[in-house]
Amino acid sequence: MPKLFSGAEIVFKCLEDQKVEHIFGYPGGAVLPIYDELKNHPTIKHILVRHEQGAGHAAEGYARSTGKPGVVLVTSGPGATNVVTALTDAYMDSVPLVCISGQVPTHLIGTDAFQECDTTGITRPCTKHNWLVKDINDLPRIMHEAFEVATTGRPGPVLVDIPKDIQFAKAKYFKPKKEKKLNGKVLNKFNQKEIDQLVDLMKKASKPVFYTGGGVINSGPKASELLRELVALTGFPITSTLQGLGAYPGDDNQFLGMLGMHGTYEANNAMHDCDLLINIGARFDDRITGKIDEFSPKSKKVHIDIDPSSINKIVKVDLAIVGDVSDVIKSTTKTLKKKNLNLEKSNKQKISKWWQQIQKWRTKQSLNFINSDKIIKPQHAVQRLYELTKNQDTYITTEVGQHQMWAAQHYKFNKPNRWMTSGGLGTMGYGLPAAIGVQVAHPKKLVVDIAGEASILMTMQEISTAVQYNLPVKIFILNNQYMGMVRQWQELLHEKNYSESYSEALPDFVKLAEAYGCVGIRAEKPDELDEKIEEMISIDRPVIFDCHVDQAENCYPMIPSGKPHNQMLLGPKDQEENRITGKGKSLV
């Protein structure tokens, strides 16, 4: 007779077979059998967080920086509801997560039992799929399927809800089967005809641009290499979304910088004026497109994406290629090489005028700001952080707001998986737990959370996790005492009525750091910045760096509401002429 295992044992056997090394979680009544089993599985390390949202974001950071799925373990009721923000965040940004939640015993489901909630009901719209395990014999299959769903196609979060009696019940265990097809959900069947059409469009184009996104990162490090080869081969300019940063070197001459609401002048104008737009693994998010009716009006549009529902969702495209980014790029490069050996040169001549135009836009230097020797400008702080950390393999996470945009603008990424930020959902409080997840995966690397003082307070408790596991994350707070992005919008749209965007009673972050048992550093003057950043880097413990920056600084360039895509707001001087009028005010 085959050996029978308890539900809790089966959970761990599955995790072992899925090669899981770390799980992020928080115990509670309904998951105690699983926690009891933890001690028997030394290859799996559990990281105890301080709040379940932190577990979710830490797993996201872990997943984004490694390409492996992040695993979360929480209890029923509040444990599950607390992780909902992180699941939604992962769903929006296509991060593979497997969340295991405890549930009250099956006979109590539906009775409003202690710490009961309809977990699968609540998480249904924010996961790719979820399961309530009602029969112990289904558990091994469901656990393996959960990993399969989370990691294949367009990645995303899944949740497995396991009632407590199922954790005790016994059943046979079996290893994952390879042949299981998810009702044909994995789509990677583009054909050569489509690639030929793409190559044909590329040959004809005189103002082409690549617009790449998080799909390139999700497709694995190989995709970034292939992308670099393709871009070099074609000589085309390339711009990236927030999530795609790092797929192409940020300091390369063909890179126009990030596009979108706070993207560079040259990137947005190139998108507007181009005659061929090649979208690789991006999804025409509204922060990118602006007003759809006036988005890139003169271009032929190509969309390469693994998710068929992303195609024609927002922007109608002329050529859609459904497939894995690296496979599509590989075929394209192969076809380019086969068809026309001199394409590199002929293309460059053909698009030289386009490059001249781009150079003209570049002279605007849209990321410029007026520096000061009295007060630290936030952009300057990010630039200095970049200069002082670029020589080592640094991982950057962020919270959400002005600091996030400044980080995206001024920190140049050269490798994929080095940039973890909450783009789709825009979750304040993402950065610190994400940094913890990154540091768990890469213990020897420098991990910096570029933060704002308002965001960091949302998940501040996780610094305690960092201290417990000796994770030397660096929390680099650009402290302006405002919810900066809210303040900026109020300044531009609501007649400087700074309603509730100022934090009156902030903690002393240096003392707070000491209270948590880590190191606090404060910088208030530009001339002490470098020295203190270097001090921060040299400390092999968690550090909270409280960088006091200009309170009034706004994030530019910006596509303001009520303005077309190619009319950007470039800086304080431009503002008077470009006031936002009328209906634009009501739009978020």
């Binding site: 799929h129 959900k185 068929p308 195609i311 024609n312 303001p560 509401s561 009520g562 634009g584």
Partner: protein, 182 residues
Amino acid sequence: MVKSKSAYSTPSKLGKIDTHIIVVWVDNEASVLSRVVGLFSGRGYNIESLAVAEVDQKNNLSRITIVTTGTPQVIEQIVLQLKKLVPVHKVGNFKREDKKIIFKEMALLKIVANSSKIKKALNACKKYNPVILDKTNKSAVIQITALRREVDSVTKNLKPFGLVSASRTGAVAMTRGAEIFN
């Protein structure tokens, strides 16, 4: 007022709105209906009617028929989003005007009236295969099968003849001829 040129999606001109019948083959498992319906409500799609039942006991498959309205772009999204759901096997999409497809819904109509009115009522729905399921000297329950708008008009016409209650299914669909949907 100045025309808004927002950098954000302002509702642009709506395309032509058509009625479509979406047929979804799903694993008959717990909460599958809620996944399908939740997708519609969560993404702001419309449901005019919905019919669902298990059609294949052996393979545990249910067939969901949803009547919905939307622009061509929205309909395309509905189909693609449905296909992404894990328990969904295949999705059929038919325009209501499509001549190759039969759509029918069934209604049960209760008439409380004297026998002459009941006779008139029966007469009023004779085009729609009326079947008397229950009859007393003061009442009758009539079953009809028809298109949605036909049932609409029948229920309206039967009011004077003593219609007190109408219960109807959503539309179900089937292709004509030997063709089957893949």
